[in-house]
């Protein structure tokens, strides 16, 4: 079985490699493909995949998604609808990728300050080959993952954001990834983000799609130079039925700040891996996440924070709301290396179980090799608080509404961590409509 998978991918890869590319890229892809062949499709016997049975889903190989033909009217309408759905604010820079390829037609770019590069990777490979090469080469534990290797084997397009030293980006960059008209196809977007010294940026990634059974296998590599700041948002709204596997790798240098806001709503199986390496002193890292699987969805959130140097802080809050027969997996690791004295790390995972058929697997881990540290983690799993329900009901709120209000409040905690008002509004409306609540709830707050 593995053999046929590999043969199909092998064929695809051979064809893919025929297109004109610089030699270093051809070589990199080949290395990726070799790693993919070596690692194979992960099975449940691997500790990292213990709770996520991926093998049946990828048993039938996915074909590489082709370019969507926008001259086709129905396709055009689909794209238009999805872009509209994704749009947060017309003021944002918007880069739209359809089936993993950049689409100039749907993108919207405003003027950029001098030196700032916001482009697609396809262009950047030609225009800034050495920068691309350096950023691609940064190690984000890509070698250990089958799917990261597969992405590398098919590197082609994605976003390329390079912000020079001392620039505060005036508007957020919104990356929209659409999967269209796909029948068991896969796209492998690869995004590179570098924020220079003392610079600041906001980036939002949105994932949407139309049609079933497609597969998005994304990688985002982030490098934050000294005192750089980045707010990274990810809004995962894939079509139910889709497979979404993503890895975000972050390299942080001295005094940089990274804030991640991860929101997972779609896909039949969504696995998001977030690896941060704190390779400098005085770094701050904040990871916030919210996953809300229902139906038969499975959401697997994995984070790893590597405290490599002293005097860094990390905060993590991941919340899950599980309904129906959904399955949620949280795996958070804080790794404190021997040199990383005075580390302050806090991790918290809370899950709300709304149905007896839902399953939660939580695995918070602390691995600590330094002594002068303060590390804590907490995990709670439970149902809605009966006392809180009683409180609301005793004040005349009907039971069902009280329930919804409490669920909303639980989730909203993470949403309020988002700085950009447009993103916050978008998330609030997603939460409200998900629970058929009216906006009144928000306006009543003090």
């Amino acid at each position: 079985m593995i053999a046929t998978e590999n043969e199909t991918y092998q064929e695809q890869h051979a064809t893919f490699q025929l297109q004109f590319s610089p030699a270093w890229l051809v070589e990199l892809r080949q290395r990726g493909f070799d790693a993919f062949t070596r690692l194979g499709i992960p099975t449940k016997t691997l500790e990292d995949w213990r709770f996520t049975n991926i093998a049946p889903l990828v048993r039938r190989p996915y074909a590489l998604a082709s370019l969507a033909h926008s001259d086709d009217e129905t396709t055009n309408d689909e794209i238009k609808a999805l872009v509209q759905q994704a749009t947060l604010d017309e003021e944002f820079h918007r880069l739209v990728f359809i089936n993993g390829r950049y689409s100039d037609e749907w993108s919207l770019m405003h003027d950029l300050s001098v030196g700032v590069v916001i482009d697609n990777l396809g262009n950047a490979i030609c225009d800034h080959p050495s920068d691309v090469q350096t950023l691609l080469a940064s190690d984000h534990k890509l070698d250990d993952s089958t799917f990261a290797a597969l992405n590398t084997a098919f590197i082609n397009d994605g976003a390329f954001i390079d912000i020079p030293d001392g620039v505060v980006l005036d508007r957020p960059v919104h990356l929209v990834f659409l999967s269209i008209g796909s029948n068991h196809t896969v796209s492998h977007p690869r995004n590179l983000i570098r924020v220079g010294k003392h610079s600041k940026a906001h980036v939002i990634e949105s994932y949407l799609g139309h049609g079933d059974a497609y597969f998005t296998n994304a990688i985002t590599q982030v490098t934050l130079e000294e005192s750089a700041e980045l707010d990274h948002h990810k809004l995962q709204h894939e079509q139910v039925g889709a497979l979404h596997i993503a890895l975000t790798g972050v390299d942080q240098r001295t005094s940089s700040r990274f804030r991640s806001h991860y929101f997972s709503f779609g896909a039949s199986l969504a696995r998001n891996e977030l690896n941060c390496v704190l390779d400098g002193e005085q770094i701050e890292t904040t990871l916030n996440g919210l996953y809300m699987p229902k139906g038969d969805q499975l959401m697997d959130c994995r984070t790893r924070i590597d405290h490599a140097k002293p005097h860094c802080k990390s905060y993590e809050l991941y919340k899950g709301i599980l309904d129906d027969r959904a399955k949620g997996v949280f795996n958070g690791k804080i790794f404190v290396h021997q040199d990383a004295q005075k580390t302050d790390a806090k991790q918290s995972n809370q899950a709300l179980l709304l149905s007896d058929d839902a399953v939660v697997n939580t695995k918070p881990q602390l691995e600590i090799y330094a002594d002068d540290v303060r590390c804590t983690h907490g995990a709670t799993i439970g149902a809605l608080d009966e006392d809180a329900l009683y409180y609301l009901r005793s004040r005349g709120v009907p039971a069902e509404l009280a329930r919804k209000i409490l669920i909303f409040a639980f989730a909203n905690d993470v949403v309020q961590g988002v700085e950009l008002p447009a993103v916050r509004r978008h998330l609030e409306s997603v939460l409200l409509s998900g629970h058929e609540l009216s906006e009144d709830i928000l306006s009543r707050r003090t």
Partner: protein, 481 residues
């Protein structure tokens, strides 16, 4: 830092206080493991055919297994063919009183400060002393028998109460459970058997002292405790071992069965030889301990103080089958020098309204590595089940490690699980505060560590609590962070 280092070094160079060898001729078989060895062990103990067959099944299953490698401990590969699987002190007369026991043995116990005489008189404790693999003397048996309590070496229980042994042996930890449990099932030498009949509250604390003596002898204890409806028993297990250069393998199995309204309290103080300052030698302690709360309202609680062994690998677990049953795990684990511990618990909630509490305190010093690995599982039927876990680690010295790997799985929406963990070092401000008040740095650290572990100590039976405190302060002497 320099004064800290000197103190640390002092501590590191401490010799194991209980390192001495009792010179008794041992009746040991040649090293190695095969079906013949299993048969030989069985025949030496005059075991019935069914038990031999059970051992053989376990042995054949063991051959198909691979040594687990998921734990976070490192040790050179163990050559299972180099171990001796049976050893019994040669003189083994049936004894009626302690006076008849070999004086050298008694001397050994006295050196350890666990004199049978003293305990017999002062503590009112029945001691089933396991010296190497065969029990030497059993006290207070008559008193216990009056209450219907059966407490005797495993090998005797097999003959005296075959129906009970047959019914419960392997019912909690099956022979196929894991690599080390299978090995134990195949070659277990002896151990303790304890049966508390319906409605009986065991009149005294039961205790067994395990000791490893003959060189190169793996010890494979097997303990089985059954508490019938409404019964109560408190069982104490304590270990110290003489100094050895080669690693000794210890793979014990403990099975507890609690029926309706029964309560079992199992306490352990483990202080086996941890190896010298370079990490040479020391006991490999791979233990499978599990209790089953079969009946309603039953309760099993594990309390352990682990200060010894080069490697500790044990996860005392509770299967909460009966409705309203309760599982508890209280642990203090210390790793100093090159010691490694991968320990924790498993709480499997099956019945309604089941409750479990986990309190784990890990202390690492020197280059010790301390892992907490625990699993809390709420099965679908575990309505209103509740778990609270707290795992705290204390670090002393900058080359040690403390790691936490909890697994939580919940399949019932009314179940509630809370887990919290923290890792920190002994606070400089705390030491400063105590020193201001005239305490030496040593005493200050001792006081802080004892305070850190208090929650667990308070649950130990009194005489054990004293021993545990002593052990801990000896283990950590000089290690100031």
């Amino acid at each position: 830092m320099t004064s800290e280092n000197t103190l640390l070094e002092e501590f590191v160079q401490r010799e194991y206080a209980h390192g001495f060898v009792t010179d008794i001729e041992a009746d040991a078989i040649a090293p190695g493991l095969s079906e013949d060895v299993v048969r030989l062990i069985s025949s030496k103990k005059n075991e019935p055919e069914w038990l031999l067959q059970w051992r053989l099944k376990a042995y054949r299953h063991w051959l198909t297994l691979e040594e687990p490698n998921w734990h976070n401990v490192k040790y050179p590969p163990i050559d299972y063919q180099a171990s001796i699987y049976y050893s019994a002190p040669k003189q083994r007369p049936k004894l009626n009183s302690l006076d008849e026991v070999d004086p050298i043995l008694l001397e050994t116990y006295e050196k350890l400060g666990i004199s049978l005489h003293e305990q017999k008189i002062l503590a009112n404790v029945a001691v089933d002393a396991v010296f190497d693999s065969v029990s030497i003397a059993t006290t207070y048996r008559e008193t216990l028998e009056k209450h219907g309590v059966i407490f005797r070496p495993f090998s005797e229980a097999v003959h005296d109460h075959p129906e009970l042994v047959k019914k419960y042996l392997g019912s909690v930890v099956p022979y196929s459970d894991n690599f080390f449990a299978s090995l134990n099932s195949a070659v277990f030498s002896d151990g303790s058997f304890c049966y508390i009949p319906k409605g009986v509250r065991c009149p005294m604390e039961l205790s067994t002292y395990f000791r490893i003596n003959a060189q190169n002898t793996g010890q494979f204890e097997r303990t089985l405790i059954i508490a019938e409806e409404g019964a109560y028993v408190s069982y104490l297990e304590g270990c110290t071992a003489p100094k050895r250069d080669e690693n000794q393998l210890h793979a014990a199995v403990v099975e507890l069965v609690a029926l309706d309204d029964a309560q079992i309290k199992y306490s352990t103080v483990q202080n086996w030889y941890p190896g010298d300052a370079e990490g040479k030698g020391g006991i490999y302690n791979f233990v499978t301990k599990r209790g089953a709360c079969r009946g309603q309202n039953s309760k099993i609680s594990w309390t352990q103080v682990e200060t010894g062994s080069a490697i500790t690998w044990k996860y005392p677990s509770v299967i909460l089958q009966g409705d309203n049953s309760v599982g508890e795990f209280y642990s203090v684990a210390v790793t100093a020098n090159h010691q490694q511990a991968d320990t924790g618990t498993k709480m499997i909630h099956i019945g309604k309204n089941t409750k479990s509490t986990i309190i784990s305190k890990g202390i690492s010093a020197g280059v010790g590595q301390n892992n907490y690995r625990g699993e809390v599982k709420m099965m679908k039927g575990a309505t209103n089940a509740r778990n609270f876990s707290q795992c705290d680690s204390l670090l002393i010295g900058d080359r040690c490690g403390a790691h936490t790997f909890p697994y939580i799985e919940v399949r019932n929406s009314t179940a509630k699980v809370e887990h919290e963990a923290s890792t920190s070092k002994v606070g400089e401000d705390q030491i400063y505060y105590l020193r201001q008040r005239g305490l030496s740095t040593e005493d200050a650290v001792n006081m802080i560590v004892n305070g850190f572990c208090k929650e667990v100590y308070d649950l130990l039976p009194m005489e054990f609590a004293v021993e545990a405190r002593k052990l801990l302060s000896v283990s950590l002497e000089g290690s100031v962070g």
